[in-house]
Each structure stands twice: as structure tokens, then as C-alpha cells.
């Protein structure tokens, strides 16, 4: 499980760095919005998708996969 924790920590660092980079480049992104709509749309979509995916992946690494499986077994799939 050590590799999961290391990977999660590295990913979280990357997310924080990426988040800070985007927020600190606000003038550039605002400029892009005014000059090139297509690039702005592409950048906005990619930024939101990348952050969403990275955060989702980080949570997957942080949460122990056994926990969800065990809980499902404990509760039973009563509705199946």
C-alpha cells in the first residue's frame, strides 16, 4: 500500500501546483477569452476535465480499495 500513498501524495502535489498555476495566470486566460474563443473553450474544457480526473484518481488512491469491497459484502446486495 506504500506505493498508493506515495502516488497519491505526488498526484496531490501536482494538483495543487496545477491549480495555483491556472489561478495565477488569470490575465493570460482572460486575454485568451477575448482574442480566441476556440482556444479558450478548449482550454476551459480540458482544465476542468483534467482537474476532475486527477482529483478522482487521487481519491481512488487515497481510499483503500478493500474498504468499499468489504462494506459491500457486509451490507449485502439486498436488492439484487
Amino acid at each position: 500500500m506504500t506505493w498508493r500513498k506515495t502516488a497519491a501524495a505526488a498526484l496531490l502535489l501536482m494538483i495543487v501546483f496545477g491549480y495555483y498555476s491556472v489561478l495565477s495566470n488569470r490575465p493570460f486566460i482572460e486575454h485568451l477569452k477575448e482574442t480566441n474563443n476556440f482556444l479558450y473553450a478548449l482550454a476551459s474544457t480540458i482544465i476542468m476535465l483534467t482537474f476532475g480526473f486527477s482529483i478522482g484518481l487521487a481519491w481512488s488512491l487515497i481510499i483503500n480499495p478493500q474498504r468499499d469491497t468489504n462494506r459491500q459484502v457486509k451490507e449485502g446486495k439486498s436488492e439484487r
Binding site: Y19, A41, T45, M48, I55, G56, W59, E79
Partner: protein, 327 residues
């Protein structure tokens, strides 16, 4: 353009958190909460709508990934319903255009009436059904009664949905379900989750958690296109969306985790309560505009705020309480 100081960022992050909790738990996008919030924060309506879609997309990625891990996402079912929904949205939009040509008053009245009627019916039916299951004291699958209708429709091709545990179902039935959701979503201007989740549970026979996860997956696909389209028109404030995403990153995990701790009938009961409150809020808002009663407008907002806070608290407390029990 918003000025992002401390007093703007904190409400954005908090709103993202609350919407994330609801989104992960119910499979909603949360546009009905975010859009008015951003509008009252100072964004023009078109930017508020675009930004809320961008935030919904980010939240949907996180929630879908977690639901997928919990085996709550039926990809095949999600893809078919989304295809139907895309066609349906266009039909709904055409209906709107037709009514707009008749009169704006007719349009406003029709949309509000359909919205309130649908939400009211769904809320009443789900609450009644979940309450009955709860009183019986054992988890009852709603498909025992309603899935019979779906089994009688045998128009080929018949497909199997392994994640949903359905061995054979007509492809056209699923596509029609998506179409109906799409027409409604296009007509009333909502995401359609409030209709698709109950239809997946009661018509197709999905488990409640699978219906929520699959709906989120479909919403993710649709919101990618919608976000790009809105951003192309300059309707997305990416920074406001990013601040909200920071909150929803945590909120979504709590919401999704709670679906595993809360009993399915309680989930359906909460879903019914949530949809009922939205119906009440929309009805108050319509009456306020129709009869120019400002008090009803305020009451509508109060109902919405109260619903968001009380349901989020219920989900967080319920999730944490039951988590302790399982330790």
C-alpha cells in the same frame, strides 16, 4: 467579471461542497442551485448557466470515477440513454421555440406547469413507495412490481446489462427512456436527472445506487459538449468554476460514500423529499412572477436554501453515523 476576494471565494467553495454532496448522493448536476447562486453573486445569467455547466462537468468526473469503483455505473446503459437524451433535448428545444412563437406568457406558464407537475408526481410516488418499503422493514426491490411492464416489451434487439443485473431488455425501451428524459430536459431547461433516476429504478429495474451512478455518467458525456459549446460563446467563468470544484472535490466523496451507508429506501425517500422541495420552490417562483408577489419569490429562495442545507446535513450525518457502526 467577478472579483475573487476572500468573501467571494469562501461562498463559492462552500457552494461547491454542498452541491458536491447532493450530486454524489442523488446523481443530480445541481444546476438548479448553482445557477441562481452565481446570478445573485453578480454574473450575467448566460455566464451563470455556462459556469454552472463547467462546474457540473468537473463534479461529474469525480463522482463517476468513485461510483464506477463501487460498481454503480452501467456504461452501456448510460451510453444508450445519453444518445436518446441528445435527440430528445433537440425535440424539447423545438417545442420551446414553437410555444415562444405563440406567446411568451403561454411558454412561461406551460414550462412552469410541466415542471411542477412532473416534480410533484415523482416526489409523491417515490416518497410513498420508499415509505411503504421502510414500513415493511425489509429492502424491497421496486422492480418486483414495475419491471414487469418492461419485461413485456420485447422489441428486438434485446440486450443484457451486466452491471445492472438485467439479463434481457429491449434496446428501444432504453433509448425511449433517454428520449423522454431529453425532451423533458430540453423543455423545462433542467438536467433531467430528477426524471432519469426514477425511470431507471422503476421502469428498467436498476438498483437505486446504479441509477444514480449511471445518470452521473450520462451527465458527464452531455456536459462535456455543453461546456465546450458555452465556453465558445464566452459564457464560462473558468475561475469561478475552479473555486467551486475545490469544494465539490471533497463534497462529492462524502455524497458518494453515503450512498453505500444509507439504506436504498432511505435514499429514495430523501430523493423524493429533495424533488418535492424543488417543485415547491418552482411553484412559488412562478406564482411570484405571475401575480407580482415579492414575498413568494423570497419564499421560493428560502425553500431552496433550506433544502440544500438540510439535505446536505442529513447526508453527511447519516454517512458518518453509519460509518461508525460498520467499524
Amino acid at each position: 467579471m467577478l472579483t475573487f476576494d476572500f468573501f467571494m471565494i469562501i461562498p463559492l467553495v462552500l457552494m461547491g461542497f454542498l452541491v458536491g454532496v447532493l450530486s454524489g448522493f442523488f446523481g443530480f448536476g445541481g444546476g438548479f442551485i448553482i445557477t441562481p447562486f452565481l446570478f445573485t453573486s453578480g454574473l450575467p445569467m448566460n455566464v451563470a448557466v455556462g459556469t454552472s455547466i463547467a462546474q457540473i462537468m468537473g463534479t461529474a468526473v469525480i463522482a463517476t470515477m468513485r461510483h464506477r469503483r463501487l460498481k454503480n455505473v452501467d456504461v452501456k446503459l448510460g451510453l444508450i440513454t445519453t444518445t436518446g437524451a441528445i435527440v430528445g433535448v433537440e425535440i424539447g428545444a423545438q417545442l420551446i421555440e414553437h410555444l415562444k412563437r405563440l406567446s411568451l406568457e403561454v411558454l412561461d406558464f406551460s414550462v412552469s406547469l410541466v415542471y411542477v407537475f412532473l416534480l410533484g408526481t415523482i416526489s409523491t410516488f417515490m416518497s410513498w413507495e420508499a415509505w411503504k418499503s421502510k414500513r415493511r422493514g425489509k429492502a424491497e426491490n421496486p422492480k418486483n412490481r414495475t419491471y414487469k411492464i418492461a419485461r413485456h416489451i420485447k422489441i428486438p434487439p434485446m440486450i443484457s446489462l451486466s452491471e445492472s443485473g438485467i439479463s434481457s431488455i429491449s434496446f428501444w425501451l432504453i433509448l425511449s427512456l433517454g428520449l423522454v428524459t431529453g425532451v423533458t430536459a430540453g423543455f423545462v431547461g433542467a438536467g433531467g436527472g430528477f426524471l432519469q433516476v426514477p425511470l431507471l429504478i422503476y421502469l428498467i429495474g436498476c438498483r437505486t445506487t446504479v441509477a444514480v451512478g449511471t445518470n452521473l455518467f450520462g451527465m458527464l458525456i452531455a456536459s462535456i459538449y455543453a461546456c465546450f459549446s458555452h465556453a465558445l460563446k464566452g459564457n464560462v467563468d473558468i475561475f469561478a468554476a475552479l473555486y467551486m470544484l475545490a469544494g465539490s472535490a471533497v463534497g462529492t466523496q462524502i455524497g458518494v460514500s453515503a450512498t453505500k451507508h444509507v439504506k436504498e429506501e432511505n435514499l429514495r425517500l430523501a430523493f423524493g423529499a429533495c424533488v418535492g422541495s424543488i417543485a415547491l420552490s418552482v411553484a412559488f417562483e412562478f406564482l411570484s412572477r405571475a401575480y407580482l408577489i415579492r414575498f413568494l419569490g423570497l419564499l421560493s429562495q428560502a425553500v431552496l436554501v433550506l433544502t440544500v442545507f438540510s439535505l446536505s446535513s442529513f447526508i453527511i450525518i447519516q454517512g458518518l453515523r453509519l460509518r461508525e457502526r460498520f467499524k
